[in-house]
């Protein structure tokens, strides 16, 4: 891929920019942040998840001369995109295992981010206090606002990225600390409480999000914390977040043959746990592929505990459905093999159907629904 870093820098010049990076939640948080900053004026954004420099260049070129931009950035590309765009704020969400057959390992990304943040003292960082990897990365920055959005997935942060000692979680609350060194959970200025965000001065902002799940309340808190740095008050920004109904097709509900089908994207173990939290108690279709954008390795299926699905009707499909079949058998979760999305739709009665799919499977289903509608 050929990219011209000067072109991106040229297009970024004169705009106040926020960057959003992390393993999960980038696209949604970028969408929320763009909605929040919309209070101040027109916002350029790469809202379809094209999160490498060609996507940024294209988004800024298409947007024309907007005063503001919010860009979702792939974790590996963050240093180069910071260098090219001189952002005002960088939001660091989380780091966990994702496509290990291709991506760098988690601790290496944390170190890459940390080295980068130390070089740009003028950037304000908004970072997740609940993820030890992110705290290590962000604490080299000159100015940090910490948020707490909770973290269900913890298996990639047992070992301190600073010294290799154990990280232990407190018995109660969200606290954690390294047993060998100084790294510990910073006190967050922004927190969440069920469907509300508590801001840095303790004001409560009740959200009426259309997007489901606790994870999206956390993404909203992050967006509001970023917006605050651009001078947008959370009271003004919060109502804008509830206007967001779907993000690049995710969470969208589609009617087909009397079935209300909702699509949830789950790319890696951490996001599967969040998807189970979002999915309603209805027949649930799980769809797994292992193409290039998904990673060719399906081992991660065994990192997800599917037990929350016991008691509901579970169907499976996708090119790697047999991997999932063996996983569910071991997990003692009864399932039906549907093979394809179309057959699963036929198999369930009219009513709700929750669909949880990984990346290329999700895109295929979107395309199939678009063809029919």
């Amino acid at each position: 891929m050929m990219i011209d870093p000067e072109l991106l820098a040229h297009l970024a010049a004169g705009r106040r920019i926020a960057l959003v990076s992390g393993t999960n939640g980038k696209t949604t948080t970028t969408r929320f942040t763009a909605a929040a900053l919309g209070v101040q004026g027109e916002v350029a954004t790469n809202s379809f998840g094209a999160n490498m420099p060609t996507g940024h260049t294209s988004a800024l070129a298409k947007a024309g001369r907007t005063p503001l931009a919010v860009l979702e950035v792939d974790e590996h590309w963050l240093p180069k995109v910071i260098a090219a765009t001189s952002p005002v704020v960088v939001a660091l969400l989380n780091l966990s295992r994702d496509q290990l057959d291709r991506a760098k390992e988690v601790a290496m990304i944390a170190q890459l981010w940390r080295d980068t943040m130390a070089k740009y003292p003028g950037i304000h960082v908004v970072a997740n206090a609940d993820d030890p990897m992110v705290v290590y990365a962000a604490s080299s920055a000159a100015q940090v606002t910490w948020f707490s959005a909770g973290q269900r997935w913890r298996d990639d942060a047992h070992v301190c990225p600073a010294c290799g000692s154990h990280i232990v979680r407190d018995e109660v609350g969200h606290g954690w600390h390294c047993t060998g060194g100084d790294l510990s959970r910073p006190e967050p200025q922004w927190t969440i409480d069920t469907s509300a965000v508590i801001d840095q001065v303790g004001r409560r902002h009740e959200l009426k999000l259309q997007l489901p799940g606790t994870v999206n309340v956390g993404n909203a808190a992050t967006a509001l914390a970023v917006a605050q740095w651009f001078g947008v008050s959370p009271a003004d920004a919060a109502p804008k977040l509830s206007e967001v109904a779907s993000v690049a097709g995710r969470y969208a509900q589609v009617e087909r043959k009397g079935r209300q089908i909702r699509l949830l994207l789950a790319k890696n173990p951490a996001s599967w746990l969040e998807a189970f939290d979002m999915a309603e108690d209805a027949p649930t279709l799980l769809v797994i592929n292992a193409r290039d954008p998904d990673g060719y390795d399906t081992s991660w299926l065994f990192d997800v505990d599917y037990a929350p699905l016991r008691g509901r009707r579970v169907l499976i499909a996708g090119e790697r459905a047999y991997d999932l079949a063996v996983r569910l058998q071991v997990n003692e979760v009864p399932f039906e093999y549907a093979g394809t999305f179309a057959r699963a739709v036929e198999a369930v009665p009219p009513g709700k159907l929750e669909v949880i799919a990984n990346y290329s499977a999700f895109q295929d289903i979107r395309a199939e629904l678009d063809r029919v509608l």
Binding site: R97, D155, H158, Y296, D297, D303, D323, R327, V330
Partner: protein, 236 residues
């Protein structure tokens, strides 16, 4: 014939656990219980001593944690004692490398546990992709199928037998894959290697229980998965 309370110990999941390593513990427990064999699973962190057990599992890991795990296991000696009393060890990827005499991590040679007669160094390329091979006939298992993801190459000494001859992928060196000796068995088939190799899972259970034969298990899905994966690499 029944065997109660088989103890499966997952060694240092805090250090040696990449994608799906938990799977081997879950699969062994499921396959044992489905035959009426009681199973206790224990996850032992690196700060704690290696407990008594019947089957020990070691997973994959990054360089730093791999070197740390080897150091802890050498000073603990619990795994050595377990092997002396013929407990079963199943080690994958980084865990397989540390079972040997030496391995490379972070550019330096590190001392291994010496429980398999082999040593590992760095290869010219990273081996990533499907791995398949014909298993040592002495083990009586069907074709091995898995996914490998490692930068090491492993060289076997006379005291270790190759687990398989490579048909697809790299394994140890492009020719052989994995190793076994007594009741210690290692492979580059990473993560939940036993999901595609149920007969290998049963071999470990037979070694641990001393049972010559296990009751049949429901292989309808594992058989479909194996057929699909072997077909994908042109072996079926």
């Amino acid at each position: 014939m029944s065997y109660s309370d088989l103890t499966v110990v997952w060694v240092y999941p805090d250090l040696l656990s990449t994608y799906g390593d938990r799977g081997n513990m879950l699969i062994l427990a499921h396959r044992a219980r489905s035959r009426g064999i009681g199973v206790r699973t224990v996850e032992v962190f690196a700060n704690d001593p290696i407990p008594d057990g019947d089957i020990y599992l070691l997973g994959g890991g990054e360089d730093g944690p791999q070197a740390l795990a080897a150091q802890r296991l050498i000073s603990d000696q619990g795994l050595h004692r377990a092997v002396d009393r013929r407990a079963v060890v199943f080690a994958v990827c980084a865990g397989y490398q540390i079972m040997g005499r030496s391995f490379f991590a972070k550019g330096a040679e590190c001392e291994g546990l010496g429980l398999l007669d082999l040593h590992s160094d760095r290869g010219p390329t990273r081996a990533v992709g499907e791995l398949a091979g014909e298993v040592d006939p002495a083990l009586g298992l069907p074709t091995l199928t898995g996914f490998e993801n490692h930068g090491g190459r492993t060289h076997l000494g006379p005291g270790a037998k190759p687990l398989a001859s490579v048909k697809v992928g790299i394994g140890n060196d492009g020719t052989t894959e994995g190793a076994w000796s007594g009741t210690v068995l290692g492979t580059y088939s990473h993560g939940p290697a036993l999901s595609r190799n149920p007969a290998l899972a049963d071999l470990l259970l037979r070694w641990a229980t001393g049972m010559d034969r296990l009751p049949d298990a429901d292989e309808s899905w594992t058989a479909k998965l194996r057929a699909e994966r072997l077909h994908a690499v042109g072996l079926a």
